[in-house]
């Protein structure tokens, strides 16, 4: 099987006189390494400089509101079923009178929790959701946690704020795939 065309056949032949002197090979080797010395380094200084990870990166979860600011989630539980890590749990409740501007439908999630230690950021909850309520946003990551009690994210940290709406670039607007160099190199 050939994976690349750079493979070289190894032979066990007797070395020639020039090869036994080592020096020509050593000098050519030194030439190769010194060329790398002056090459531009691809390192990105991470905490200061962050790379754009592409429009379909799966980061921080968000529970979407609709255009009028009502929560879209109806606590159907499909995301919890789809979740392979069993990170999602929720408690459903019925909408009361006067809460129509808070919840879009008659049933809503009174409690919606994601255990960030269990979550593997596979995005299956996003795919399972029939109401387009749960998304993994591409522009923000779950921050590092230092304490156990910071691990379970409730609604207060998941539901999107009215002044901080999450907009994902529509798929038709995405020009290049994120693996293409033009997009990945663009550090933001």
């Amino acid at each position: 099987m050939q994976l690349t065309n750079r493979s070289k056949q190894v032979s066990n032949k007797e070395m020639t006189m020039a090869e036994k002197m080592y020096l020509p090979a050593i000098i050519s080797g030194l030439g190769i390494t010194i060329r790398h010395f002056f090459r531009k380094k691809p390192t990105i200084q991470y905490p200061e400089v962050k790379k754009y990870l592409g429009p379909i990166y799966r980061g921080h979860h968000v529970l979407k509101r609709d255009e009028q600011g009502r929560e879209r989630c109806t606590a159907c539980g499909l995301c919890a079923v789809a979740c392979p890590a069993e990170a999602i749990s929720m408690v459903a409740a019925e909408r009361e009178k006067g809460e129509e501007n808070l919840y879009r439908e008659e049933k809503y999630a009174a409690v919606y929790e994601i255990n960030m230690l269990r979550c593997i950021f596979c995005g299956l909850c996003e795919e399972a959701c029939p109401k387009q309520a749960v998304y993994l946003r591409h522009d923000r990551m779950v921050p590092v946690f230092l304490e156990r009690d910071e691990v379970i994210y409730g609604k207060e940290r998941l539901v999107e704020k009215a002044d901080d709406r999450y907009v994902r670039v529509a798929n038709s607007e995405v020009k290049t795939t994120p693996t293409e160099p033009s997009l990945t190199r663009a550090a933001t």
């Binding site: 050939q2 032949k13 006189m17 020039a18 030194l30 390494t33 790398h36 380094k41 390192t43």
Partner: protein, 385 residues
């Protein structure tokens, strides 16, 4: 000896001591930086600007780690090992002339810790003591891997010291003196630098210097794929730090020694013209001192180049196998060094300094002929399955 001279001498010794330590400290930083650059990385850049405080952070870490002595180890020898390694490493820079001389008043003081007429012998003696640090440390650890590493170090150092000494003999024959300063002074004009008169000797000396410093490609004593950590497997904290540090001091000293023996020391092209012009412009004493300073700067430039070269080779070449190491030392370098001595002697008989180039030309010719005579290997055809 005059008190002033004594004071100035003491000052010079202290300064050389300090510079040796400083350069060794920053060699660790340079090593990491050079390694990173050769591997398309950036290297340490968090501690201070460009990571310049990194060596201090490393030293702090080393000091605060637990200083562990294994219960079965021979305690005093275990402590003595790193001390010996450090001591011998620091002693050897004493006879290297870092510059011409300083003049003040009626005094002329050579820029050198001690000027002895057997400087080369002194360095050889101290360097051959250096193996004791490794040997004692490896043996006292009471650990198989440490002992194997120490034995390897000892046998390697002993084998390569022979070729090192033999390649030196050719230079001693040309100079007729064992004093390092005399060897440096003999290379006053550019084309009489020993690199031009002794090209083969230089290559042998350089290779042996790599082996003596236990640097890649000859770092078998600490070959981590075979021996865990080699002779310093059991060491921790600053004792380990001393071992690593003495390696960098050795690297600095051997770079200085190579530049002094083969690259004219503090000499540089058009040196006499420059110093004459300076003495004319600034007065005899000030001009002479400034010229000395320029020479010292050039000397340190050469030293830094060789330290860089040590690192450059380290990150280019893989490690030799043990039998390859011994074959190279005994079957290649020692005969070549003896041949070098013989040819140099024959050249000196007819007052011709560049005689050893004949060996180099013959070797190049043999290489070219053998290249031409080998049947062309068919290009490896990629196999498809």
């Amino acid at each position: 000896m005059d008190l002033t001279v004594l004071l100035v001498k003491g000052l010079i010794i202290l300064v050389i001591f300090g510079i040796t330590l400083l350069i060794a400290t920053y060699s660790t930083y340079a090593e990491r930086k050079v390694a990173a650059f050769l591997q398309d990385r950036i290297g340490p850049n968090r501690a201070g600007p460009w990571g310049l405080l990194q060596p201090i952070a490393d030293a702090g870490k080393m000091f605060f780690k637990e200083d562990f002595i294994p219960s079965q180890a021979s305690k005093w020898l275990f402590i003595l090992g790193p001390c010996l390694a450090m001591l011998t490493a620091l002693m050897s820079s004493a006879v290297i002339p870092f510059g011409d001389s300083i003049k003040f008043g009626d005094y002329t003081i050579p820029l050198q810790a001690i000027e002895i007429n057997i400087g080369v012998l002194y360095i050889f003696g101290v360097v051959s003591l250096g193996v004791y640090g490794i040997m004692v440390g490896g043996w006292a650890s009471n650990n198989k891997f440490s002992l194997l590493g120490a034995i390897r170090a000892a046998s390697q150092n002993i084998s390569y010291e022979i070729a090192l000494g033999l390649s030196m003999i050719a230079i001693l024959m040309m100079t007729g003196s064992l004093s390092v300063r005399a060897i440096v002074d003999q290379q006053a004009t550019f084309f009489e630098w020993n690199i031009f008169t002794q090209p083969l000797g230089f290559i042998i000396f350089l290779t042996c210097a790599f082996a003596e410093c236990n640097r890649t490609p000859f770092d078998l004593p600490e070959c981590e794929t075979e021996l865990v950590g080699g002779y310093h497997t059991e060491y921790s904290s600053m004792k380990l730090g001393f071992y690593l540090f003495s390696e960098y001091i050795n690297m600095f000293v051997s770079s200085a020694f190579i530049s002094a023996l083969y690259f004219g020391g503090f000499h540089y092209p058009f040196m006499t013209e420059v110093s004459a012009a300076l003495e004319k412009g600034l007065g005899v004493i000030a001009g002479h001192n400034v010229a000395t300073a320029i020479g010292t700067v050039f000397f340190f430039g050469k030293i830094f180049f060789f330290i860089f070269f040590f690192m450059w080779v380290r990150w280019t070449l893989p490690r030799f196998r043990y039998d390859q190491l011994m074959n190279l030392g005994w079957k290649t370098l020692i005969p070549l060094a003896i041949l070098n001595v013989v040819i140099t002697g024959a050249g000196l008989l007819y007052d011709f300094k560049y005689a050893t180039w004949s060996i180099a030309f013959v070797m190049i010719g043999m290489a070219v002929v053998s290249m031409a005579r080998t049947p062309k290997q068919p290009q490896a055809v990629p196999q498809r399955v």
